[in-house]
Symmetry: C2
Subunit: 213 residues, 2 copies
């Protein structure tokens, strides 16, 4: 028999111990600590400790939205796959994605814009959605920023984490344009990010509301 | 209007140019070049250039299996979400995952092992599956290695990329035990890896067989 840890909770516990140890003297505020560590846990990449940024009381305000059962709009199907279904069900929350909807595809083609752009417009118009989680498309994040500047309802949380070499870092930097609007957001600065990182952030927040497994 | 690149092919082309430039003098063999670069493209993490390892003619032999329409067994739903559906459809390939199957759940509980372990046993018994892609569960990879040593049919390709702090690196190192069996594999050494990395490797290989978009 091989000698390895088989039990998911045990693996998670040991992993967080290792992460805490290897972070050495680096300490995070209590409300962000489990979020930063879960991102490192998901990526095995300690660089996220300095890339992640929390603005405008993002954790507390995001948690209130999750407690209220507000749905999450995600720009990729991978985010939906990454968020824990049991944790979502406990709060009666859905993760929505509209980029494959027929009406979105048709309108994007007609207007010559990305599906992510049109899908974001559709999401912003939903009263039951107030959390926006973007792991891939700079155009989704740009569109969200512009819609808010144009008077769209203020989100309770934006997770801004498009990954990539072209436009991703710039789209996240553009969140600065929302400074006058007091929008809570969690951002991954630079090129890194992606759907698993977004999933880790959302899971860490959901787990703060309770975990029955 | 914001000034950004909107067209996915253009973004991809520019991204690969940036990656090539920032890799500087580092060159990869022609058959692995697009795979390594797509992993970097997906993760925005150049460390993968030195973490990825190709053994036993993995690319050519894996491509032959893909061309023959062999299905892919993946240990996570996120891998299924990460692999390009159009590219799979062109080769009539499915990505399968059994960890949520009722029979797998029941048997794992009965035997006190992980679902990933039992799901891997189910996958190995399928004649139409010869590619095994593991992005999360060390137990899935360990079970696959042991089944092969016990006489299971030889896979055409293993993508060994569990990510994490407990058991992941060790499970990938255990692929060394397959040295006498001439099994083609692509491995991410160390802690890093994960479903998006596995998706990037599989997509890069599928794109070598043609891309109609």
């Amino acid at each position: 028999m091989r000698d390895y840890v088989n039990e998911p909770h045990e693996i998670e516990k040991k992993s967080f111990e290792i992460i805490g140890r290897e972070l050495g003297g680096i300490k995070f505020p209590e409300e962000t600590d489990s979020i930063v560590k879960r991102v490192i846990h998901t990526t095995a990449d300690f660089e996220y400790a300095r890339l992640i940024e929390f603005k405008n009381n993002a954790v507390a305000r995001g948690l209130n939205a999750l407690k209220a059962g507000k749905h999450i709009y995600a720009d990729t199907g991978m985010i939906k796959a990454a968020v824990n279904n049991r944790a979502l069900a406990m709060q009666h929350i859905d993760v929505l994605n509209f980029v494959h909807d027929d009406d979105v595809i048709a309108e994007a083609k007609k207007r010559g814009v990305t599906r992510s752009t049109v899908a974001m417009e559709k999401a912003v118009n939903r009263e039951d959605v107030s959390i926006f989680a973007i792991g891939n498309a700079p155009t989704a994040l740009y569109r969200l920023i512009d819609l808010i500047k144009d008077g769209a309802p203020k989100p309770d949380l934006i997770v801004g984490a498009p990954i990539g070499f072209v436009g991703a870092a710039e789209s996240k930097a553009a969140l600065d344009e929302l400074d006058p609007y007091d929008i809570p957001y969690i951002r991954i600065n630079g090129r890194k990010g992606g759907s698993p990182v977004v999933g880790a952030i959302l899971n860490a927040m959901l787990y703060k509301l309770g975990r029955d497994w």
